[in-house]
Amino acid sequence: MLRVVSRRLIQLFITLLALMTLIFFWLRSLPGGPVDALLGERATPETRARLIKALGYDEPIWVQYGHFLKNVVTGNFGNSIRTGEPVMDVISRSFPATVELAVAAIIIAIGLGVPLGYLAARHRGRALDNATIILTLVGISIPIFFLGYLLKDWLTQSVHLFPPSGRISTGMDNTDVTGLFVLDGLLTREFDASADALWHLVLPALTLATIPLAIIIRITRASVLDVLDADYIRTAEAKGLRNPTVRKRHVLRNAMLPVVTIIGLQTGALLAGAVLTEKVYNWGGLGTLITDSISGSRDYPVLQALILLAAVVFIVVNLLVDLSYAIIDPRVRVR
């Protein structure tokens, strides 16, 4: 177990190092180099020279690369070009919003997806099954930003059921503890703030959940169908176990393994989907930050840090997923 973890951590480290190196050399190979990218083409030679000196671009590339690596390791990504603040400040301010959104989305996707997939499998070939399959097919074929606008148009404009954008109503006096507004409200007993934040969360979370939901339904269905065919289910039924016991301990538990893998892989879809969803609902998280950093002149220091962060999150979540196999499947533990 420990050997698996340490090997994966080393792999993670190498992957990140390679990714950083690629980004570093790519940014420097841009036409005109990063200085032109920062200043635009109309900068005076003096400003250019000053910036080149300030950023250390007059040093040999290997020295620069060394500095870059040192800075990354110490969490110093420089300052945002757009706002001038340290990149880490900008990112940590936006981070909780995206975590809240992504967690809500994955709760919806698992909470609806596993039961729906299970039901579809048990009612294979019947109306419920067919309806579910069609729904999942549409779910993976629809551009999710369009779905976001559609939900927004129907449920906030035509019917005023949900707020159209933002994370919390203006004028709501909420205390910031973790930055996760729903949780903060519960911690500080400002339940009205919690409810309000939850209300704002529904549509964005639903939009973001679409693709993971569709995929979790499909995988659960396929996996349950596989397990239902297995000999040990027939054995369990034959020896007279009650139905709920068979379902819970034999069917669901065995069917969950591929589902857990997919949930891990879907964190990637969530990170990418967050960029689109946050733009639709003006959410103000990391997705919004990416959009802001690429519109107009590119904010390379922020972008670079965000790319690394996305890679770290994606790889770490999938590592955790691999480890969770051991809990679900005793066979893995032995190996």
């Binding site: 990714l19 606008y149 960029v275 690429i294 590119r298 972008l303 790319i307 996305a310």
Partner: protein
């Protein structure tokens, strides 16, 4: 000498073909037959064919030139009022006074172009890297696989966003290339996996025992037999490619050419901007994208079912 080699090659081909045949019917013919009996694949193929016909015959089907601005449409055009259906313009106007129906029809062409090209470029390089990794093994394999690891460490759309953002100036080609590159590691890994499985198979062993040249084993025996999974994946990738292209347009990273009639652009830029003024500007391209993506997904799934050896009776 060369005659002997030729004879040998033909003999091996016969042998390998017979191994693959099983019941005397060739693998691909059998798969094709099962594909034709697979309702999922048929529905998917029908949808694609329909849009393909529209795309090919766009100039004949479209009532107008897709980039021409019409005085009768621009007359009442403001940001808050985009003319709806009128005589001669069944879908009404777009935000610049162009015939929306013609743009939708030409959109089939451009969208298919982006999707097909992005998929094919990704496929080409993915197959190249995957085949080299699978055939060569050793350190070449390790280097290529570690490289795909790095690319797969980022979610695909995020990687595409990064690539376009790093290109500074986005054009139609940056979008196509970005979406294509994202798929290279997926194709490469997939092909390498089946190549490795092929390397251990009996027909390759037989070919090697008969002294077939290494290059011929790879190109004539391993590669053709490994392509199934990749072809299925390519079909599914097409759907993802046009969705990703649309997402890039929505994020402002799409093709900056205002004359280009492509559904992703139409939806991601104008459709979203004028959603409250004229939702059809979003509905129609979105519906078209959903249908085409659905078509390719259905065809891909149908193919996967039909080509899966487990489903052979």
């Amino acid at each position: 000498m060369s005659q002997l080699a030729e004879h040998k090659r033909r003999r091996i081909d016969e042998l390998t073909a017979r191994t693959a045949e099983g019941g005397g019917v060739s693998l691909f013919r059998d798969a094709g037959r099962r594909l034709l009996r697979n309702p999922t694949a048929i529905v998917g193929a029908t949808i694609i064919l329909l849009f393909l016909v529209i795309a090919i015959f766009a100039p004949l089907v479209a009532p107008h030139d897709p980039v021409q601005r019409f005085p009768e449409l621009t007359k009442d055009l403001t940001v808050d009022n985009i003319p709806g259906p009128t005589a001669g313009h069944p879908f009404g106007s777009d935000p610049l006074g162009r015939d929306f129906m013609s743009r939708m029809i030409y959109g089939a062409r451009q969208t298919m172009f982006v999707g097909v090209l992005a998929t094919l470029i990704g496929l080409l390089f993915g197959v190249l890297f995957g085949a080299v990794a699978g055939a060569a093994g050793g350190w070449i394999d390790v280097v290529i696989m570690r490289f795909t690891d790095v690319m797969l460490a980022l979610p695909s759309l995020l990687l595409a966003i990064t690539l376009v953002a790093l290109a500074r100036q986005s054009t139609q080609w940056t979008v196509i290339v970005a979406v294509a590159i994202v798929n290279v590691p997926i194709f490469a890994r997939l092909l390498r996996g089946s190549m490795l499985a092929q390397r251990e198979s009996d027909h390759v062993l037989a070919a090697r025992a008969l002294g077939v040249k290494r290059r011929d084993i790879v190109t004539r025996h391993m590669l053709p037999n490994s392509l199934t999974a990749v072809i299925v994946q390519a079909t599914l990738t097409f759907a993802v490619a046009i969705l990703d292209a649309a997402a890039l347009s929505f994020l402002g990273l799409g093709d900056p050419d205002i004359n280009r009639a492509e559904w992703g652009l139409m939806l991601g830029v104008d459709g979203v901007r004028y959603f409250e003024v004229r939702p059809e500007l979003a509905y129609f391209p979105a519906l078209a994208i959903i249908l085409v993506a659905l078509g390719f997904t259905l065809l891909g799934e149908g193919m996967r079912e039909a080509l899966d050896p487990k489903n052979r009776r």
